[in-house]
Symmetry: D3
Subunit: 281 residues, 6 copies
C-alpha cells in the first residue's frame, strides 16, 4: 500500500515557461527510458519477486522513489506550458519567437491536455508496457535496470545541455545524481548475485545441454578482421570457463531448407501444373 | 551490403510438427527479446557507430549473425506448423490431442500466414521498433545488449524445458550456446570501455553539475529496513568515488506544487464563481 | 512524494493456483479499464490540476489508492501462477486438467515473466498511455473517471462470476466495493461542478459561437422511427436551455466536395491526357 | 447496410490553405476523442446491442451521423493542405512564413498522403481500436459516450481558438453544436436508464457479495485533509443507499506478501546457497 | 453524408453459437486485411481523391459497401457468442466440449465486450490506422486495394474451411463472391490507369533523374542461380522500356562508411584517451 | 546465413548536414512502406516459401538487397545529423536558420539516438511488424510487394523533390531506379503466376461454393451514377469468366438483426422491468 506526501522529492519549478522544451522533456517522462518505465519496471519486479526479502524491499524502495520522479517531471512540464501561445500561424510568423514556439510545441499539450503533462515521449508516442522487464530472474533484470539507468542518465544529461534555465537544470542535476546512485546500486546488486551464481544468465541451466563447441567463438561475418582487435576476440572468457576463439570464416552448419507443400485447405500457392488438374476435375 | 548463403547457420528441423509449440517459439523470434530485436538493435548500433572502427566491425559481425538466427527460428516454426489441423471445434473435442492443438494454436498461423512464421511474439503482438536501443553511447548500449542476451538466453532455456523434441532442443542448444558467447562478448566489451571511462554513463558529464549530495544515498521509502542488508547500502560505491549511505527516512526536499490557473483560451476548469461572471457578461 | 507500506490494502491470496484464471485476471490489471489505467489517469489529472486545492488532493488520494490496487492484483496473479505446468502438449493431452491449463495459459507468463504478473491485458496486449485522460477540464475528466469506474466494476463482476475460488472472490468483493464508492465519488464531484457550471463541457465557450439551430436536434439517419421513443427525442433538454427536436429526415447542408488537383511535385494521379503531354516534353 | 449522399452534412471549405492547422485538426479526426472514435464506438455498440430496439436504433442513428463528421473533417484537411510548400529548409528560412509552415507541418501529409487527410491524430499517431468501448452494458457505455462528447467538444473549442479562418470556424461551430446535442442526448439516455436501474454499474450484481464495509468510504492517502472539503466526503451517497464516510488514516487490511520460490524449470533467481549445491552435483 | 438501412446486406445468422470460431472470425473483421481496413482505406481514398469524379464516386460506392460488411461480420460474431460458457476451469475439464470452448475463446469477448464483437483481430490485437493506404496516387492505391482484396479473400476462404456450420459458410460465400468482384474491379481500374500512364508508379517522375543503369537489373545476392529461371530475370521488362539483366555477382558501388565523432554536447562514446583529458581538466 | 560487406551498395554521403531533412527521410527507412518493411516482408516470404525453389531464391535475393537499402538510408541519416544544433529556443529565434532547424528536427534524434538513425518513420512512430505480409500464397503476396514498391517509389520521388542537395538526390536516384526494377520484377512474377492460376486469389477455392450471383456486380451505394463510367462497370470481367453488371440500387438481402438478451452472468443491460424483479427477490 502507498501514502502520498504533498511536497515533491525535489524542487521542480522553472524560471519561466518554455513550451518547446516541455515537449522535449516528455522524453524522460514517458519515453522508452523515461521515469514511467523505471517506475513500472521496478514495481513489477518487486511485486513478482520470489527471492529473499531484502531484494523485494530494495526494489520496492527504488520503485517508490521513481513514482516521485514521475511526479516531479510532470509538475515541471505543466509549468513550462504556462501561457503557451495558441495564436494562428500567420500572426506568429511576424514574431520569430512566438513562431518558434508555435512550430516546436507538441500540439496535444494544448488540444488534448490543456497545458498539462502527458504520459508520452518527446514525439508524442504513448508509454507502453512493452518497455518493462520483469523476468523472474533477478540477475537478468538487474542488468535491464542498469541499462535503464544508463540510458536514462544519458538522456537527462542531453536535456541538461538543451536548456539554459537554471531552475530546470537544477532539477535535472538532482535526477542525474540519483541516476549516478542507481547505476552504482544496480552494479552493487549485480556484483553480489554474480559472486554466488557466476555471470551467465541463467546459471541454473546445465551446461552440458548447450552446444559447447560454439559457446566461446567470435564469428567474423564480414570481410576484413578489425573485429579481432577487441577484448572479446582473445584471452580468457569473462565467465572464467574458457578462452575466446576468433573464427575468421564461419561456415554454415545447417541444412538448406526445403519446406513441404502446404496442406490443401490452406490454399497456398498451387503447384505449377495446377490448371490442368482443375480442368480434369 | 549483404550476401545470403542458402544453408542455415545451424540445423533447424523438428522431429515432427507441433503447432502449439510453434506459437510459443514465436517469443524468441518476434518478442521483446527475440532475435529480431537483437538483429535490429545491433544493425542500428553498427550503422550509427561514431567510435573507432573495431567497434563498428564487431557490432555488425554479431548483427549479421543474428539475421541468421531469425532465419533459423522462422524456418523451424514453418516446419512445426506442417499439417496443422483446421477442423471445427466439435470434432476436435472428441479427440483430446487434436483438441489440445486447436485450443493452443495461434489462429493467425493458419488464417494469416498460411502455416508460416510471423514477426510477432508468443501472444501474437507484433515486433515493434521501440524494442531497439541505439543511443550513440556504446557503454550504455553494450549494457542494453548484455541485458538482451541475458533475457534471450533465459527465454530460450525456458522454451527448452517446454519441449521434449530432441531436434528442437538441438537447435535451442545451439542458440543457448551462442547466447553464452554473446553475454561473454558484451561483458568483455563493457570491461574494456569501463577501464578507460569509469562506470557511470555518460562519463563525460562534469560531476560538479550534478547534485552530489544525493549521488550515493540509498533512500528507504518503506517502513522496516530489510533493504539495508545489501551491498548497495553500505561500503564503497562501485565507481570508487564514495561510500554508500543509507537514508532511513528520506524527507521531501521540494515545494508543494501549486499550478497557475490555465490560460482562458484553453477552457480548463472554470473558477468556482464562474456562473456569476457569465451572468454579468 | 510517496511511501510504501509492505502490507497490502486488502488480502490477495488464492486458495490454490489457477494459471488460466491468472490470464483472465490480467484484464483488470493492464487492460483498457484495468487498475493501471485509473492509477495513471488519476495521477496525471492530479499533477496537472490547476483548480483549487481540494480537487488536487482528492484526485491524488484516490490515485494513491489505485497503486495499491495494482499491487494487490499483481500479487494475486503471481500466486495464481505458482507451479504452473510447462510440460509438452502430448503428455498434457492425456490428462484433461493439465491440458486445459496448458491450452488456456498465457505463454508469456512462463516464458517472459517467470510466473509473474505483467502490465498487460487478458490477451497479452500491453498497457498503453493512450488509455489515460487528463484534459485540464475537471468536469470532462470526472466523466471519464465515472466511465472508468463503471467499466472497471463491470469487468470485476464478470471475473467474479468466472471463478469459484472463495479467496479470489473475496479480493474481488473488496475491489467491487471500492468501485461502488468510486462511482459514487465521481458522481458527487460531477454534481458539485455541474451546479456551478452547467452540464455542457466546456461551459466557458460562448454559445453564440456555436451553430445553435442544430444544438438540440436528434437526427434520424435511418428508415423507421424507433429512435423517436426515447427521452433524447422529446421534452426539455438536460441543460435546461431548450427542447429536443426530432428530425425525421435530416438533409445535407454542405457542399458536394471537389478537390483541386494536387501540386505537381506531389506526383499524385496524373490527368487523363497525361501521356500526350509527356510525349511533347 | 448504408447509403452515401455526395453532399456533406455541413459545409467544409476553408478560406485558404493552412497546412500547419491541418496537422492540428487531425486531433479531432483520428485522435483518442476524434470523430473516428465515436463513429466506431457507436457502430459497435449498436451492432452488439442486446437491449430493446429503440436503443439500437438511436445508437446507430448517431453512429451514422458520425461517419459524416469524419467525412467533413477529412475533406477540410485535404483542402487546408492545398499547395502546401515542399521546398528545402534553407530557402524556407529566408521567408519566415514559409519556414513556419515547413517547420509546423506533418511531413507525412506530403510524403505519405499526397496532401490528403490521414486517420491519425495531431502528432501522427494512428487511430487504434483500443479507443473504443462497447461493453454490452448500456449504462456503462453511455457514460463512455458522454465522456467522449465532452472531451470532443472541449478539443473542438480549443481548435476554434487556434484559427482565425471564419470558414474553418464555421465548420467547427457546427460540430460544437452537435456535441452540445450529443452531450444532452447521452445525459437523457443515462437518466432514463438510471431511473430503472439505479446508478451503480452493473446494477444486477448482488450487493451482498461486495465487501460493503468499504463501499462508501473516502480514504485519505495523504497527510492533510483538504480532500475532506468536497461533496464526496460527507452527506448521503449518490446512490441513496448510505452516507459518505471520511477515513482519515486508512490502515492496510491485507497480508505482507511472500511468494513461493518459482518452479525449477523456470530458472528464476537461484537460492543464495546455489553454488554449493552445484558443486556437490 | 450517410444513411443507415436496418437490414443487413446479406444474412448473417449462425446455426448455433460457437465462441471459439467467433474468435477466429475476428480476423476478417479487425485484422490487417479485415473489413475495417478496406472500409477505412476506401473512405479515405475517396475523401482525399483529387482525380476526376468517376473515381471518387466509384471508390466511395465500394467504401460504403464495406461498412455493411463490417456490420454483417460483427452481427455474426455477436450471435456466435450467445451463451458462451463462463464456468471455472476445473468443471470445464470434466466436459471436453466445454473445456475446448473455454480454452479457445477470446477472454475479452466475455470480460470486456459482454459477448459482443470487437474491432480487433483473431489474437485480440486492435485495428490500427497504420493498416490504411491513401497516397494521393490512384494507381499506387489501387494496387494496395487489389492486394487487400486478395489477402481478404484468401483469409475468408481459410475461415470457410474451418467451420462446418452451413449458415456461417453461407455468409462467407457471399463475402468471398464480393471479393471476387472487387479483385476484378481493381484490376479493371488498374488496367484503365496503366493504359494512359504506363506501369511504373509514379509515372510523372522524369526518368532521366533516376540512375537508369540499375533500373532493369536483377541482382543475385546469393550463391547459386536458381533465381535466374524466372520471368523477372530475362526477356523484355514489363514496362516495355528495356530488357531484364541478370547480375550474377553484384558489386558494392558505395563508400565504406566512416562517421564523424559526435558533437560534444551529445555525450556519445568518448575517445579512447578520454581519461587522461579529464585528469588534466 | 548472411555475410556483410563493409562497402555500401551505393554511395550515401550528403553534401552537408540537414537535420530537418533527416527527420523526413526516416519515412522511407522505418515507415509503412520504408525499406525495413520490404526487407522484413521479403525475408519472411522467402523463409516461409513452400513453392518451388526459384521463388524462394528470387525472394531472398531481393530481401538481401533490401537490407543494404536500410543500411544506406540509415548511414545517410546519421550524416545528415552531424553537428545538429541543440541550443535553447530563445537563442535560436534570433537566427532564423538555426530556429528553423530546431523547430523542424525530431527531438529523439538528439535525445535518444545521439545523432543516429532510428527504425521509425517521419513522425517518430516505430516500425511495426504489422506492416509485413507473408500469407503463404505467392500471388497474393506479390501483389502486396507490387504495392509496396509503388508506394515506396512514390515516397522516394516526393523526398527527391524536397531537397536540393545533389548528393542526397544521387542516392535517391539509385533507390528510385531499383524501385523501377522491383515494380517490373513483381509484375513479371505476377504475370507468370496468373498465367497458370488465373487472376482471382486464391484460385484453388471451388467457385461453386461462392455466391456466384454477386461475383461480378458493381453496386452503386450512392445517388447519381458517375461510377458507371468506368471499366469496372461494364464489359467482360478481367478474369474472363463473366461480364460486369451495374446494380443501380442494390437492395438489402439480409435480416434485420435482433440479438438475444445476454446471459445473466454477463451483467449486460438489464430488462426494463428490472427494478421490480429485484424488489421481489
Amino acid at each position: 500500500m502507498f501514502y502520498h506526501i504533498k511536497e515533491l522529492q525535489y524542487t521542480a519549478k522553472p524560471s519561466k515557461p518554455d513550451p518547446v522544451y516541455a515537449k522535449k522533456l516528455q522524453e524522460i517522462l514517458g519515453g522508452q527510458y523515461g521515469e514511467i518505465s523505471v517506475m513500472m519496471q521496478y514495481l513489477f519486479q518487486g511485486w513478482n519477486c520470489r527471492a529473499e526479502g531484502k531484494y523485494r524491499d530494495m526494489i520496492l524502495d527504488i520503485a517508490t522513489e521513481e513514482i516521485a520522479h514521475v511526479e516531479m517531471i510532470a509538475t515541471m512540464i505543466a509549468q513550462l506550458l504556462d501561457n503557451a501561445p495558441a495564436h494562428d500561424q500567420e500572426q506568429g510568423a511576424k514574431d520569430p519567437v512566438i513562431e518558434a514556439v508555435l512550430g516546436g510545441m507538441n500540439p496535444q499539450h494544448a488540444i488534448v491536455n490543456g497545458l498539462g503533462a502527458q504520459p508520452n515521449d518527446s514525439v508524442g508516442y504513448p508509454w507502453t508496457a512493452r518497455y518493462t522487464v520483469a523476468s523472474g530472474n533477478l540477475l537478468a533484470d538487474f542488468r535491464a535496470n542498469l541499462n535503464a539507468e544508463s540510458q536514462g542518465r544519458l538522456q537527462a544529461v542531453r536535456l541538461y545541455e538543451m536548456t539554459t534555465d537554471p531552475a530546470v537544470r537544477d532539477m535535472l542535476s538532482f535526477l542525474i545524481a540519483r541516476d549516478t546512485m542507481h547505476q552504482n546500486q544496480w552494479l552493487a546488486a549485480i556484483e553480489e548475485l554474480e559472486q554466488s551464481q557466476g555471470i551467465v544468465v541463467p546459471s541454473t541451466f546445465n551446461k552440458e545441454y548447450e552446444k559447447q563447441e560454439v559457446s566461446y567463438s567470435f564469428m567474423n561475418y564480414s570481410e576484413g578482421e578489425e573485429s579481432r582487435a577487441g577484448r572479446w576476440a582473445s584471452g580468457p572468457t569473462l565467465d572464467g570457463q574458457s578462452t575466446f576463439e576468433y573464427v575468421q570464416s564461419p561456415k554454415a552448419m545447417g541444412q538448406k531448407p526445403k519446406l513441404e507443400p502446404g496442406a490443401k485447405y490452406i490454399h497456398g500457392t498451387p503447384p505449377l501444373n495446377f490448371k490442368l488438374e482443375q480442368d480434369s476435375e
